[in-house]
Amino acid sequence: MTDTLVDSSPLRVVEVGQRYGRKWALRGCSFELRPGAVTALVGPNGAGKSTLMAAAAGLLRPTQGRIEVQGEVVTASPSHPDLGYLAQDKPLYRQYRVREMLEIGRHLNARWDAAHADALVDAANLDRDQRVGTLSGGQRTRLALALVLARRPRVLLLDEPLADLDPLARLEVQQTLMTEVVDTGMTVLMSSHILGEIAELCEDLLVMVGGSITLSGVIDTVLAQHRVLVGPGTGPDGLDFLPEGSVVEVQRAARQTTVLVDRPVGPLPIGWSSSDPTLEEIVVAYLRGGGQGTGR
């Protein structure tokens, strides 16, 4: 994400802070999405992921900093016409019928592709006369997705779109989503807790801890750059051979020290070996608070 042209990012977040009372939900949060990429947003509950998405959708006004969609600063609603946002609770009116939700979508949106909405509703085998409240979780997600995609967004924000879906519904939603990516080349940011899901769907990764981004990059690059070093038990000064600031996390056992570093390091002292970490090892280390300059 760091190697994109500055002017071309579909979503750019610059030093955003969001304060609720005395607590900062977002603080110094900065990143930009690579055009056309599907990016995972990972973080512990309460890290600020939903707040960030709501702010990008124009539902919140950041206390500090700014958010740009297609180069335009996001102001209060209506949200940017190029931006689609699907909140975690998939807000739909339970007492309305599917057909009425489509009508509402048509009336509320300046840009509305009715044929596309119909095609997505048909593909999901939704009965237009059924009430939203009686749809299954998977059907509700697919209806909510149809309503968002009918706006033909260039940037799509999805807050845990696949949570609480059974395996079949999850596959169907993934198929709809990824087919849309092929057909439109849109940029997607999706939050998720499931690393397997991320490995399948996402090319880029953002890790958010405590309201700011602690890791960002193309997943393949992140994997290639990080190393796990295993060596003998050491005290704090036993890691002096590592470059300043390269250490993400250190785990010490009686006779073994395991270190995750964020770059290849030079020749290792005797007794140390280096190997490739998995995506899970890297993400978990950052979720535990690694990579925040806490150093050795």
Binding site: L171, E172, M178, T179, V182, G196, A199, E200, C202, E203
Partner: protein, 129 residues
Amino acid sequence: MIEFRIDRRAGLPTYLQIVQQTRQALLLGRLRVGDQLPTAREVVASTGINPNTVLKAYRELDREGLVETRVGAGTFVIAAPGRAVAAQESEAGEALGAWLRQAKASGLDRAEVEALTKAWIEDIYRGER
């Protein structure tokens, strides 16, 4: 046309699963020179994976000289390492099948047969890839 299966618990990167399944289909003669691989859209529609993963797999197969992507037309097999003598129906293939049927009849289970064949492969093909 080949259909890819993505094993979510395989631990193997998704693009490598596609590369390996294509190589396997070529070796077994299920894919031949001139055959078209499914488009990224077709793979995505059936598996739900990221389209760039499919393209990455095809680039890898292209680098290996096995397939070629023609703009606007699709991705086609241009070389098949598989040979007729390696097909299931070939002489060697039939003999192996007969041996496996015999092994099964004598009470060997799948894991035992796999361990046994693997040990012989290691022995006979030592030093080759």
